[in-house]
Amino acid sequence: GGGERKSTPRRGGGIRVATQAASTADTLDPAKGALATDYTRHFMLYNGLTCIEDESLVPRPSLAKSFESADRITWHFELQRGVRFHDGSELTAQDVVFSLLRHKDPAVGSKMATIAAQFADVRSDGRYGVTIRLTGANADLPTILAQSHFLVVRAGQNAPDGNGTGAFRLAEFQPGVRTVVVRNEEYWIPGRPHLERVELIAIPDEVSRVNALLSGDIQLCNAVNPRSTRRIEADPRYATMATPSALFTDLIMRQDQLPTGNPDFVQAVKLMIDRPLIKRALFRNYATIANDQPIAPFQRYFNPDLPQTVLDLDKARWHVQRAGLTGVRMPIFAATAAEGSVDMASIMQEYGSKVGLNFAVNRVPADGYWSTHWMRHPMTFGNCNPRPTADLIFSLFFDSKADWNESGWKNERFDRLLIEARGEADEARRGELYGEMQRIVHDKCGVAIPVFINLLDGHDRRLKGLRPVPLGAFMGYRFAEYAWWED
Amino acid sequence: MNAPAVEVSGLVIDVARPDGTRKAIVEDVSFAIPKGEVLALIGESGSGKTTIALSMMGYSRFGARISAECIRVGDMRIDRMAENELPTIRGRRISYIAQSAAAAFNPSRPIMAQVIEPLLVHRLADRRTAEAKAIEIFRSLALPSPETIGQRYPHQVSGGQLQRLMAAMALITDPELVILDEPTTALDVTTQVEVLHTFKSAIAASGATAIYVSHDLAVVAQVADRIVVLKNGRTSEEGTAEQILEAPSSDYTKSLLAAAHPAVRPSADASEDNVLTVSAIRAGYGRIVDGQPAIPVLSNVGFTLKRGATIGVIGESGSGKSTLARVIAGLLPAAGGEVQLDGDVLPADMADRSREQLRRIQMVFQNADTALNPAHTVGEILSRPLAFYHGLKGAAAAARVAELLDIIQLPRGLETRRSTELSGGQKQRINLARALAAEPDVLLCDEVTSALDTVVGAAILDLIDELRRKLGIATVFISHDISTVKAFCDKMLVLYSGTAVELSRQAEFAGAIRHPYTRLLVDSVPDMDRSWLTHRAAVERAAMPGASLRNAAGEALCRFLPRCPAAIAGTCDAVPAPLRESAGQAILCHHTLADLSSAASAEIR
């Protein structure tokens, strides 16, 4: 980990940071951000109304110096005064309204279009006030707005060009090659940032990425393979930072197709997953054993009373036999797009043969995986990034009507609980509701979640001030604002 | 009185066999050459001539090892020289003229650079003086435009010129010993005479001692003072030229001498009907536009051939002999004229000919090496036409193959061998047998003996002669070797540059009336007479070099005009030559037949 030894922030230094993917699709438009590179870039250039700064995941004010809501439907945000964009113009409510409403325009191609559908109305309320009215109660709006997609751009900029209020100014941007930013001298938060210059590149090949770190060509990288940690830690100049996160790769069994729709089949599959093996072999223990539901033990609202599903081949075989599926041949679609899925599929195949299921691994290319394979076949793998709230993960992936209801299951009770929890003001009650929902998913849903995967960043030990934020690599992609360089 | 310029004794050259033992390819050869004389090494192919000649330079091919009691050239003991000393004498004091100048010249460097290279690498002169000297030698070798010929590339000069240029390269350092390895074998007879002559005078002028390698006794007779006859790497006979040529003591030398004078074969009793009629053929290569090929070769060539008869086609290289054969076989569709077989007009393109028509005309290709598929066994090669034309399969085919092998006098065991495992003579027999397997009416033989030793070639000729008499096959016999054709054929067709300048029956051809070109050809064949070359050299004189081949009206003139020693100014270069005909002879010339008889032509000269 980062700051064991006490060190105080100091100004200066430039670093090069590598993520695992970049392409010509790299963008300066926060709404379109799709990869770690984009998120990191956007957080350097822009600010959001709110932000999440630490592992507590509590949303804090950012461009909004305060926010409030009585009914969790209508929200009022009061903006900071005197915040200036890089081009010198002042931030006003206009900009915020523009930035939020863009997401509802299909032509923009926002990744948050479905979330933004909740915005019934976004209005400016004076020069420095913004009022958002939602279609239904949502206590998590401040958390939602802390995501990179909702970062604020200048009003009228249909194709944002990096002109934000952020801690860094854009110096160079070559899609698929690199982004260079330099310190914004007039940043509205005094004393920040510390680094003079950040160069953001992508090294898709993991071995190359780690080699680049070890040869001093980069100072920080994400997506380190658990198998490489030994190499990095062996060198006293480098360290890894593990961020426990709710990232998971799940095996999807479509409920609207056979035989995956058969509850016995689902049960059998959940019973034949050797979770310790996956944790140990695939992730070198940089993972947390999961229990077929998406809330990780270290997250709020985690339900510790659910019994842990463990490997039980006899029971699995019994379920297979009961379903009359012994000897059935099933392809499992996997791609590197879903981290670890190919190896998981191999494990499934190995154990499947022990319970009478004949799985065939069908590795397909990563590109086109989400549009052509994911959720399209009876058995595919999905991959779900950490979400800041339980509501988000449940409503995006488990609600019957959700676009990404991966297994296509339908559970009215679950749907009802979801709405209820979203508007619930009482924390204890809310916890109960989420606990109940976890049980339903664990028992009934057609997804098997073997483990939660830790995020692994590798960094030069001279880079200080890093600490894990479970939302993503690089302190939830926001390291640039906090980190400093100590020679 | 003086010690000989070159002295060799106890020369042994051996090569390592795969099993490690050594095999001698030259054994115990000794000779001596007095200064300024020419020694000829003669013998059949593979007898070790080249190997011996090269050992004079301390050089051996394919890792052969040279050992000798003594190899002395002038004051140099070649056998005692160290490996790094040898290059200093090669090309400087001993030089070499290879058999094929076309191969020995580097195709991608200008001639001059190569000719003066010996001077430059031995630092005998600077580039300027070297070039001046080269031009001097070019002039003395009677090369055309000596100042500029050096700027050309090897492919831009004729074979004869190239051979002379190589002589220039060899002589430029004024060597003590010149080695000539069959320097005229690859040349036409007419060119051979020129080259022989220049070589002889050049060597004489330089005063160098020479070793002349050849397998042709008649050629050797013209240049050599002494002769060593080799057989299988051993000296068979050695002596002065007169002695060997006039009173040979070994049987081998006698057989060589005999082969140089082929016996005249009696004409077959040909039947009356023409089996093959070729009339007014016009043909060439490239795309045919308006009945005229892009590269015209043959113009208006025709003849008739009776069953069982033989027509000889002669002419120098490039005169269109093979082209004629290809036209008859249909391999090259003629642009004009027609070929009739038994009175039926054959389609020009073989693709349009019926299988039966194809069967009845068979061609025996010049080069047996490339005409036999190396991937097939003799049996396969011979049985394919049997199956293809006669539907013979299995035992019947095998029996017929055996029969064919008997006919061509080869052992039956040969069937399972591939052509690569046969000698040159054997290959040519198989080539012939394949044609016979089709049971043809007409056999086209394209220089079937040119690549063979005289002795072996003579045997093949005997075979063909016997076959045509036995089976009544009509033969078109193509050759550039006029003595063979003269002895062998009932009719002669003389081609010059694609035109038939003369068509004669054997009797008339042997007579005195000849086209000037035919006369040139006949006269160019060397005689055993040692003074032949000296006399012959006076004859070679062209009347109108560089004359145009078309007159003002655009009519084609006699193509031989630029080289014709008997050309009539004002007639030959103005009017197309008329065809002079008599019984059994047709000649394309302005002179009357009477004028062309040898007595009369002596006057014309």
Binding site: A281, D343, Q349, P365 | G330, L331, L358
Partner: protein, 274 residues
């Protein structure tokens, strides 16, 4: 037959014999290897990963704790047979087109040559990526890609050979006899190309082995848990600094296979003995 074999062996130089031995060794491994494999190819048998030689795991274990020996035995089967199959297909197709182009000449030749240029100029790995993206990864597709990649190369060589042969007299003899194109192609021309073609097949074989390993780098290849030798190297590459056997063994396998094939080819070439 056996006489021929011994004389063939005797004719080979030492390097050729080494090559032959290596090639035969890998062919045998590819044929019988999977039956000798101590574990199933996907079995997670070792608690540790990248472990060294032990009595239990003769060649150690891989990045997931699977038995390297078993995986290499299986992997060589994929590599050898895929490469062999692809090389043969490429040579068959390339040579057929070459014969057609050489014998027909003219427009046929021009069209085929242009088409081949088209294929040769598209980078093969990218072409493979596109095809795999379009049709999904399968053994047969891999075979097709590898074959298609090397068809044009073989075509160029075979065409040059055939052009030389077609000009030779024995082909003219066959034409003058009235033989059809098929006979000329198959009986007259082809047998004389066999030797250089065999050498070329060998060379293509080597190229395909390397192409497959390149494709495995791009994530295209045999479906897991199976893996060809290249994929084995690739998937274990993170063990490279530890000198893991899991990476050395398959890399060595590729090297010996390709070097062996090359040595054999060189020895077969006429003049290679010199």
């Amino acid at each position: 037959m056996s006489g021929k074999l011994t004389s063939f062996l005797r004719g080979l130089p030492v390097s050729g014999r080494i090559g032959l031995a290596l090639v035969v060794f890998w062919l045998v491994v590819a044929l019988v290897g999977p039956w000798l494999a101590p574990y199933s190819v996907g079995a997670f048998v070792d608690q540790d990963v990248f472990s060294g030689i032990s009595s239990q795991f003769w060649l150690g274990s891989d990045y997931l704790g699977r038995d390297v020996l078993s995986r290499v035995l299986w992997g060589s089967r994929y590599t050898v047979f895929l490469a062999l199959g692809a090389a043969m297909i490429a040579v068959c197709i390339g040579t057929s087109f070459a014969l057609l182009a050489a014998i027909r000449g003219g427009w046929t030749d021009e069209v085929i040559s242009r088409a081949m240029d088209t294929f040769i100029s598209i980078p093969s790995k990218i072409f493979a990526l596109v095809l795999v993206a379009a049709f999904g990864s399968s053994l047969s597709l891999l075979l097709v890609i590898a074959a298609a990649t090397y068809v044009p190369g073989n075509f160029r060589i075979a065409r040059a050979l055939a052009m030389n042969l077609v000009a030779l007299d024995f082909v003219q003899v066959a034409r003058a006899r009235g033989e059809g194109s098929v006979h000329i192609a198959l009986r007259e021309v082809l047998p004389n190309m066999i030797h250089p073609l065999l050498a070329d097949t060998g060379l293509r074989f080597v190229f395909v082995v390397l192409l497959l390993s390149g494709l495995s780098f791009l994530g295209l290849g045999v479906q897991p848990p199976h893996a060809d030798l290249g994929s084995l190297v690739r998937e274990n590459i993170s063990g490279i600094t530890e000198g893991a056997l899991a990476i050395i063994v398959p890399a060595l396998a590729i090297a010996t296979l390709t070097v062996g094939a090359n040595l054999l080819i060189d020895a077969l070439k006429p003049g290679g003995k010199a």
